[in-house]
């Protein structure tokens, strides 16, 4: 049966290959769906092959755990609403981190047991090879467990925040020092463990400290910053998996983990950059940050009736729709697409303009619009659409605020100063759909709403666009 281990190794190799090819295919919307299916086959192959590993005990327990875990996750994943995707990603990511930490824990416990079982006879203790970890393996295993545990508790906090279970920020004086102390303590215990001074008590202390640190460092971060944090923890989990893969001598884990670690790091940077902030600012910026003072803006907001707004767009040549976080809150994406289709039928040229940080996670709006069935070639990036606003008749802003705020360009004191925005103000008319005078994520006034060519259509996103649809249908009759 010498061919069995080779066959299993070949399966792992194929799995790693399929992961990479799958991620590669995700770089284009046309092939992305196929990409995740490929990666899925890789995963299936790797898991099935693992069952045949020689010398594996507890097969029944393993199968049971796999079945329970898969069914539960499959069931929730299939049922959850499209808008809850960010927190589900956080949850599943946390589970991965937890699994990595568990692997590290099992290895450490086994290591301690092997030390206890075998009293040092004379100089060199004769420990059986199987239980004995090399120093590098031990160190990487501890490091992986630390990172995994932090990612676990941190991701769970992120999940709870996005789910709305933990609305208040949790801030107290000296928080930064406490967190730093926690981290230092966890690292110190980790170093002790890694240098061979393992004991049951130390292991418990290590995991408690690591979990606590993940909790405490994520709690003060605002819910809206969560996507960046989730992406960071995604990279963390990847690294943790790679390290534990090294301990287990499993190359597929090393490769998949490292690829995700690198990819997640890059994604985190891209997100933070799109929000015009540094990663450090996202993670620690909340401590004692004074809220920007509300700037008074001259003029008044000029409301408009749904009927007038509908007529303006019905007889326009070009309309650009700018969705924002409010669209997600109102779940208005289906109505908006219905409205856009009616306009298109009338011969109006309709485009959707998406700001890179519209909504609460990158690509948030793309996902929502895709859910409603908006074809992606009607959707334009900020850089592509900005020059076009000058020849646009009506820009319809739905639940967006910060991403169309001209203060980002003019007011150096504003918290979003320097962030590139969508130049909706350049178009002939701007119609803004929002519920009232609520501010956006940055909590500041928006000069656009007071501009001469802007009209406000107050109301919940879904209801307001529903009115527009009805008005348009009346026009058609």
């Amino acid at each position: 049966m010498n061919w069995l281990p080779t066959l299993i190794k070949a399966c792992y190799f194929l799995a790693a290959l399929l992961f990479i090819l799958g991620l590669k295919r995700m770089s284009s919307p046309r092939t992305a769906r196929g990409g995740v299916v490929w990666a899925g086959y890789g995963m299936l192959l790797a898991v099935l092959a693992t069952f045949f590993l020689p010398g594996l005990h507890n097969i029944g327990l393993i199968a049971a755990a796999v079945l329970i875990g898969v069914s539960a996750a499959w069931w929730t994943g299939k049922r959850v609403a499209m808008t809850a995707m960010p927190q589900m990603v956080a949850l599943y990511n946390g589970m991965g981190g937890g699994a990595a930490a568990a692997i590290g824990a099992v290895e450490l416990i086994g290591y301690v047991r092997s030390l206890a079982l075998l009293p040092p006879v004379g100089g060199a203790p004769a420990v059986p090879v199987a239980a004995q970890l090399a120093p590098v393996e031990l160190a990487l295993g501890v490091l992986g467990a630390l990172i995994g545990a932090v990612s676990f508790s941190g991701s769970l906090v992120a999940f709870a925040k996005l789910q709305g279970w933990l609305d208040k920020r949790f801030i107290f004086p000296g928080q930064r020092a406490v967190n730093l102390l926690l981290l230092a303590a966890a690292v110190m215990v980790g170093v002790l463990l890694a240098s061979g001074h393992a004991s049951a008590a130390l292991i418990v202390a290590f995991f408690v400290l690591a979990l606590l640190f993940g909790l405490m460092m994520t709690l003060p971060i605002g819910g809206a910053d969560m996507p960046v944090v989730i992406s960071l923890y995604n990279a963390f989990t990847g690294l943790a998996v790679a390290f534990e893969g090294f301990v287990l001598g499993n190359e597929a884990m090393i490769i998949a983990g490292t690829v995700v670690g690198a990819a997640g790091t890059l994604l985190t940077q891209l997100m933070a950059k799109a929000m015009n902030r540094s990663i450090g600012n996202v993670l620690f910026g909340s401590f004692g940050a004074a809220g920007g003072e509300a700037q008074a803006i001259a003029g008044a907001q000029k409301p408009v009736e749904a009927s007038d707004a509908a007529v303006m767009m019905a007889y326009a040549e070009r309309v650009v729709i700018v969705p924002g976080y409010g669209l997600a809150v109102a779940q208005a994406q289906h109505k908006v697409w219905e409205f856009a289709q009616l306009l298109i039928k009338r011969g109006v040229k309709v485009k959707f303009a998406i700001h890179p940080v519209a909504g609460r996670m990158p690509g948030h709006m793309n996902v929502l619009l895709a859910e409603a069935g908006v074809p992606y070639d009607l959707i334009a990036d900020m850089d592509d659409i900005n020059p076009e606003f000058a020849v646009t008749d009506v820009a319809l802003v739905i639940g967006a605020n910060d991403v169309v705020n001209p203060l980002a360009r003019t007011d150096p004191a504003s918290p979003i100063y320097g962030m590139p925005i969508l130049d909706v103000g350049d178009s002939r008319h701007v119609i803004v759909v929002k519920r009232g005078k609520g501010t956006g994520f940055a909590g500041i006034e928006n000069a656009l709403f007071y501009a001469d060519n802007t009209r406000m259509l107050y109301g919940d996103g879904q209801a307001a666009v529903g009115q527009l649809v009805n008005e348009l249908k009346t026009l058609d009759d």
């Binding site: 393993i62 499959w74 994943g77 599943y92 490292t258 070639d377 959707i379």
Partner: protein, 101 residues
Amino acid sequence: MIDGFLALYIFMLAAFTGYEIIARVPVILHTPLMSGSNFVHGIVLVGAMIALGHAHTPFEVAVGFVGVLLGAGNAAGGYVVTERMLEMFKSSKPDAGKETK
């Protein structure tokens, strides 16, 4: 188990591969991509299975069991969520639309 330098080489090359592949993904796909890479590290399930398979004391078995549960959740959940998101990306051109279906 693996020679240190070989692991280092694999680590370096995998990091480059991940970085280069992701650097080319358009913003529109960032959310599904985050979810997709989240799925890929679900391979931790294999590691958890191995750990549970070599666990001896009841406590180790319990921890290993939780690890496999969590790993399976990561893998299955990550897949379902990613697949659901990507399924929705369609082009208005009919043929391209068919291809993604």
